[in-house]
Amino acid sequence: MTDIIAKKVTELKSSGIRKFFDIVSEMDDAISLGVGEPDFDTPWHIRDEGIYSLEKGRTFYTSNAGLKELRNEISKYVENSQGVKYDPVNEVLITVGGSEAIDLACRALLNPGDEVIVPEPSYVSYVPCTVMAGGTPVIINLKEENEFRLQPDELENAITDKTKILVLPYPNNPTGAIMEEEDLKRIVDLIIDNDIYVISDEIYSELSYKEKHTSIVSLPGMRERTIYINGFSKAYAMTGWRLGYACAPKVICEQMTKLHQFCIMCAPTTSQYAAIEALRHGQRDVVEMREAYNERRRFLMNEFKEMGLKCFEPYGAFYVFPSIKEFGMTSDEFCTRLLKEKQVAVVPGTAFGDCGEGFVRISYAYSIDNLKTALERIKEFIEELR
């Protein structure tokens, strides 16, 4: 008998985070700093619009690409924030989270053997999406000394004549790294000269603590070769609504919409109505949440400094990525022991790529009080190790 499951799928490595989740879920009294989503509830006025849409009986499919009103709002938002225009009719697609957009982008662009450059550590889905779309992932191991920003020479070394896509995951999960305008400018020529397309995953763009986030689409020559991905999960604390979007030139967006039509039909209608409210009236919430995250970020960085735990200062998302190399154990060991001995859950850096070895991801999507208790325990733990 032949194998039940397709070889491509069995060969796909399951996410390293899954294994850790299983250990944590057995511990009742663990404090977690391991969550990759906001601790805030979705602002009530946004939830209220979702509820209202249900009351009004708006329980049908929308058009494949999503509600026109919402696509209009998205087009306006991208224009206001990045100065780049997308035609809401042909160049904006509403997806089930940013994740779906990543998958669609890979499947729309890749032919067998095409290479996709994935800088790591980064979110867990770029490599599997590449593989399932028939592409070959080429990993760049980002370096702490560069604050995990992608360097031109690193990119240059990864480029071959098969390179089709560069994934640009900034602000970054799990490192919290950002790419500023200057950093982006330094890689643009390489991208254009080598005719590479960019999947720019900017789901954390609203959580940038230095200057305003700059998207690579805003740089000359990049709009026509970039798939801009964003969504509502992080900026508006809407993870469970599963709503994201992609903006791309018509030729690409059309094909992504075709795929989306066959596998999804359309993104959840309720969520789409709520998202219109988020874009129209949610800016204050975004600012408030960003300020709260920023306070926690500064607090955390200071605590690490006092503990003598080495950590570059991240300016994006809601993660810090301290180095645990001084303790002479693997990230996995460190996290497992921290969990068993002090009941604090953090995520091993290796869950986000092999070069995450020697680091752990700590999320600050938690209240200050929660962070304090957890940090107290981490401090005890590392003092015992030293």
């Binding site: 989740f21 879920s25 977690s32 969550v35 979110y123 306070e295 500064r298 607090f299």
Partner: protein
């Protein structure tokens, strides 16, 4: 960061967290500790910071308290509007707050007492007896769901998965 912005940041932070440790606040707001203390002192003197209060849910204690919200209609006085009558009312120790409002009534008062009787005595004997007071409507507060931006009815619970990518 200019003085104005500094002050707003401090006020926003301590408005709901009066007991925050100042050295911790300095880190969180990216400011100097002495700066915060100086600004707070100045704002106290200027009457911008009027006090540091504790939000108590008395219903959860054995202490008996009754709170009422009273709308008052009164005649303004020549040259002084409602200031004089407001002052005559807010001087009573049991009166918690007095606001001048628009609409069908002129003043809105909240008052705390131990019993209904105590409050009704205040309304009939003290408040209505004021010459300028024409009429009032007393509403007893049955339950406080939210006060000073804080939800009292329900506690926050973290319902997220323990680990997510």
């Amino acid at each position: 960061m200019d003085k104005k912005e500094k002050r707003i940041r401090i006020l926003k932070a301590i408005e709901h967290e009066a007991r925050v440790d100042i050295s911790e606040l300095a880190i969180r707001l990216d400011m100097e500790q002495t700066d915060i203390l100086n600004e707070m002192n100045e704002m106290e003197k200027e009457g911008i910071i009027c006090g540091y209060l504790t939000l108590v849910d008395w219903d959860k204690t054995d202490e008996q308290t009754v709170t009422a919200l009273i709308e008052v209609r009164c005649t303004p006085q020549r040259g002084q509007g409602f200031d004089v009558v407001a002052e005559r009312i807010y001087k009573f120790a049991e009166v918690n707050s007095v606001y001048l409002i628009s609409g069908g009534f002129d003043l809105l008062i909240t008052i705390e007492g131990r019993t209904l009787k105590e409050i009704s005595r205040f309304v009939t004997e003290k408040l209505s007896a004021q010459e300028a007071v024409l009429s009032c409507a007393t509403h007893f507060i049955l339950r406080r769901y939210k006060d000073h931006g804080t939800i009292l009815a329900k506690k926050y619970e973290d319902e997220r998965q323990l680990i997510t990518p």
